[in-house]
Amino acid sequence: MDLQHLSIKVFAERPETIDLSNFTGVFNSWIQRRVADELLIDVADYSHVFAGPGVILIGHEANYSLDNAGRRLGLLYNRKAKVEGTTHERLRQAARAALLACQRLEKEQALKFSGQEMRVIVNDRLIAPNTDETFTSLAPEFKSFFDTLYRGAEYLLNPTPDPRERLTVNVRAASRFDVETLLRNLS
């Protein structure tokens, strides 16, 4: 299965203290400073939308957002451009980009992200419909990746049930992980 369009969300701690309206400026400063290897284009503010995509830093290869889908605020990395390699390598690329963005927000904005819980979305309903079969066929590759990320700690993979949704897998480790640790685990 050629999984190209992977999104990874890392959840923010104490989301009630985060004011989304500040983040149009934050993301614009990322464009000014060209903080990523990717081409960063524009900022879209949807903070007025209930449980919406929040504030999005639109890029060419990927979008970054402080996403509030499901009323759970987190940093979402939404890959759009092709990444060469295996599914494991593509998950690694997306997770690393998401965690680096979290690391930057932790340093610059005093946010705190929890690495204990993550969400993977396969943004392509044709290649990866949200069915038990798809999840079963992908589970070994997901496990291979999260074994690396969590370095042997226990974790659970929970797919979401609605077949109309994109294939979405919630991952929860048994113990706490911070962003720095996870980045080290990926290095």
């Binding site: 464009i31 284009i41 879209a44 503010d45 007025h48 939308v49 449980a51 092709k82």
Partner: protein
């Protein structure tokens, strides 16, 4: 580009109408040919526009980041999808929804596309379309196939074509209508879409239907072609027909549509529209796109001559069975309820329900059924919300969903007894906001968020006004509840500011080396009676002061209105001079070093200027001679409005013309300080120095505004009717705005002068 793109064709081939499938295949081939350099970029641009694939802000590969203009280094630096439009730059996809009608599956597909190709948001426009932003052109064929598989086309959603045919969202259920216009709107949309006679327009063509004359839902008077349902008894038999209007439109200079026929029989709707299309295609302006809408042709020919040509054309048309075929099946669009009619009958109502029900429920003519308005903030909805709405529509109705021109969605045929259930389901989706169709329900075009033409942030302002008004919604006086606020990012009126009680459109001013976002305040527009009258601009005010403008105007209306007095009547009664005085202090701009917030736009932290001046410079206090002169020109426009209000059309027209000359003189003096105070000479110098050199040309509107001045100079001695004077005032306002912009560009082009502290 999505990895699945190549597979959608095969996947959906059996679900797409063959003609539509072929159309998308051709488009995909054209994309490939363009990539190979075998299609000219201009031709490709029109090709994609006719499929609804539109450009988006920054697609020229540049963006001001608040400090400098960054060159966006896309991978395909050479390949373009139109003049000055980089291939890889994200674009917008517009999706036509004729009369706003949708079923649940279509809503779900919209949700899927928003998530997979866009930024997760589907946006409802002021013409009942959907728009998806930040779309890759390479994804558009797959996206179109997925829409086509559920019966939606993007064909002719943009470009010089017949755009989405809109209709009152209450058609078929409203007690005021003569009859349900839905089947007629559907038939005309189908008939004209891709019709050979609509392929050679010089400009777009918008059509609207309304079931009644009095309300605003159809907005017929601001459309190129508008039809209002009428019944008539002929020889004892009741006949259906339409009051047909032509030549209306908003845009920079709005035109009220002209009554073409008081009763066009239903069987004549399609052929007469076809004849109108033919005349427009044959005689409409093609070279100067700023004069190419049908309103200019109607004005130029006069209604009687235009009508004669259309009827002549109609007589020559070869008969087409499609003209009347739909009349045999008019009931195909009849809707039925899913659940039996039942009243609430004292059932328990959840908290917040009553307040919501007061504004978001429309009682249908069918007893005990209601239409629920789902308020979408700024027209935006997530995939999850759209799927949730699809679920409600399936559970409580027979999927009778429509979009509205106020950027909302309505669910029709809800049994009253089901309202608490619907409310609870909407609340779970975060879509239970009350205030539909009230002052809280601010509408806006995309503006600078995504539109290439946007000057100021209409969505930013609309969002701010929504927040402020919602915060005090419990205490808002009833008198202002039903006022409408509409915001456009520029003079092009996509936010329909002309038909609002309080309308705003984005402009800019240059001050002390900075460019500053402003909004023109447009008052006196009328939403009812199908956009019965258009408001006039009262003057430009810094963007950050606009909430206070709303506060003052509504506050004064509450305290000083006469019994039963409408907002339009109130504005007219107290007069523009008084309003101007009331808002005068809000026109003042604080220096940058005192309040820098005025120098960036709502929801955008970037400094609005394109300059690069350092902190501590005192240029903010310098007001140039040109700025004084342009302010004088602006004052004259205002005086012209006052004269018009007094019924002195001739003087108003002359004053408007004088203001244009004054603006031109202000600019000419920048190059030729001693220009004689002679009108002919000023206009001549303006033409040579600013018009012919294109220095005055707007980056997007071209020479349109300069042309207004030159035409006014040629015609100013002619007698001015009220309508002519009004139009000249509109044009004068735009000439003055263009002069401000031109001066801003001239200043920006100068190297910055650093002043030592």
């Amino acid at each position: 580009m999505k990895a699945s793109n190549p597979f959608w064709r095969e996947q959906l081939i059996d679900q797409i109408e063959p003609e539509l499938a072929r159309e998308i295949d051709i488009y995909e081939t054209e994309i490939e040919l363009r990539k190979q350099g075998k299609i000219d970029e201009k031709l490709f641009a029109e090709t994609r526009l006719r499929r609804g694939a539109y450009g988006q802000r920054y697609d020229n590969g540049q963006r001001w980041d608040g400090q400098e203009t960054q060159i966006l280094q896309y991978p395909s630096t050479e390949l373009t999808k139109g003049p000055n439009t980089v291939w890889d730059a994200p674009g917008m996809q517009r999706i036509k929804i004729p009369f706003g009608g949708l079923n649940a599956r279509q809503l779900e597909v919209m949700a899927d596309l928003a998530e997979e190709y866009s930024d997760g948001i589907a946006h409802v426009t002021t013409r009942q379309d959907f728009q998806l932003h930040f779309i890759s052109i390479d994804d558009t064929p797959a996206l179109m196939r997925r829409l086509a598989a559920v019966g939606i086309t993007t064909r002719e959603a943009c470009g010089n074509s017949v755009r989405n045919v809109t209709a009152c969202p209450y058609s078929g259920i409203c007690g005021d209508e003569a009859f349900d216009v839905t089947p007629y709107a559907h038939a005309l949309s189908q008939f004209l879409n891709g019709h050979p006679d609509t392929q050679d327009f010089g400009r777009k063509f918008k059509i609207a239907f309304s079931g009644c004359k009095d309300k605003g839902c159809g907005l017929v008077n601001m459309h190129d072609l508008g039809a209002i349902a009428v019944r008539r008894i002929e020889t004892g038999v009741e006949k259906r027909g339409f009051e047909l209007y032509v030549g209306g439109g908003l845009g920079s200079v709005p035109h009220q549509a002209k009554l073409f026929d008081t009763f066009l029989p239903e069987e004549e709707l399609l052929p007469t529209s076809q004849a109108i299309a033919r005349v427009f295609a044959r005689l409409g302006e093609k070279k100067n796109r700023n004069r190419a809408r049908i309103k200019f042709l109607v004005a130029q020919l006069g209604l009687e001559e235009f009508k004669r040509l259309v009827l002549e054309e109609r007589a020559l048309l070869p008969p087409d069975p499609e003209w009347t075929a739909f009349l045999n099946d008019l009931h195909a669009h009849d809707e039925q309820p899913l659940r039996p009619a039942a009243s609430l009958n004292g059932a328990a109502r959840p908290e917040g329900f009553d307040r919501w029900a007061r504004t978001n429920i429309f009682r249908q003519k069918q007893s005990r059924y209601v239409t629920v308005t789902v308020t979408l903030p700024l027209g935006d909805a997530t995939g999850t919300q759209l799927r949730g709405l699809a679920d409600i529509a399936r559970r409580c109705t027979r999927e009778t969903i429509r979009t509205t021109v106020e950027q909302n969605i309505v669910l029709r045929w809800v049994s009253e007894a089901d309202l608490p259930e619907v409310y609870a389901a909407l609340k779970a989706l975060g879509l239970e906001q009350p205030g539909a169709g009230t002052i809280l329900d601010v509408t806006s075009c995309p503006g600078t968020d995504t539109c290439k033409l946007g000057i100021a942030s209409s969505r930013g302002l609309a969002g701010e006004l929504r927040i402020r008004l919602a915060e005090k919604s419990h205490t808002l006086d009833e008198a202002i509840q039903d006022l409408r606020i509409k915001v456009s990012g520029c003079f092009n009126s996509c936010g329909q500011h002309h038909v609002a009680d309080l309308g705003f459109y984005g402009v800019s001013r240059h001050s002390g080396g900075y460019t500053v976002p402003y909004f023109q305040v447009v008052l006196g527009g009328q939403w009812t009676e199908n956009a019965g009258s258009f408001g006039l601009a009262m003057g430009a005010i810094p963007s950050k002061n606009i909430p206070e403008v709303v506060e003052r105007l509504t506050g004064r209306y509450v305290s000083e209105r006469l019994k039963g007095e409408s907002f339009q009547a109130f504005i007219k009664r107290i007069g523009k001079v008084e309003i101007k005085k009331m808002l005068d202090d809000l026109t003042r701009l604080p220096p940058h070093d005192q309040d820098a917030s005025f120098y960036s736009d709502w929801g955008d932290t970037r400094e609005f200027t394109i300059g690069d001046m350092g902190v501590g410079e005192c240029a903010g206090e310098v007001v140039s001679r040109v700025e004084f002169d342009l302010a004088a020109a602006e004052r004259e426009v205002f005086e012209a409005q006052v004269l018009l209000d007094k019924g002195e059309a001739q003087k108003a027209g002359e004053m408007a013309y004088a203001s244009m000359v004054q603006a031109a003189k202000a600019l000419v003096k920048e190059q030729f300080y001693d220009v004689p105070d002679d009108t002919d000479r000023i206009v001549s110098e303006f033409r040579t120095r600013f018009y012919d050199t294109q220095l005055f040309w707007d980056p997007f509107a071209g020479g349109k505004f300069g042309h207004y001045l030159l035409r006014a100079h040629d015609k100013h001695a002619e007698p001015a009717t009220h309508e002519v004077a009004r139009q000249r005032i509109e044009e004068a306002q735009l000439v003055v705005e263009a002069a401000y912009s031109c001066y801003g560009r001239m200043q920006a082009a100068k190297p910055p002068v650093k002043v030592k502290a």
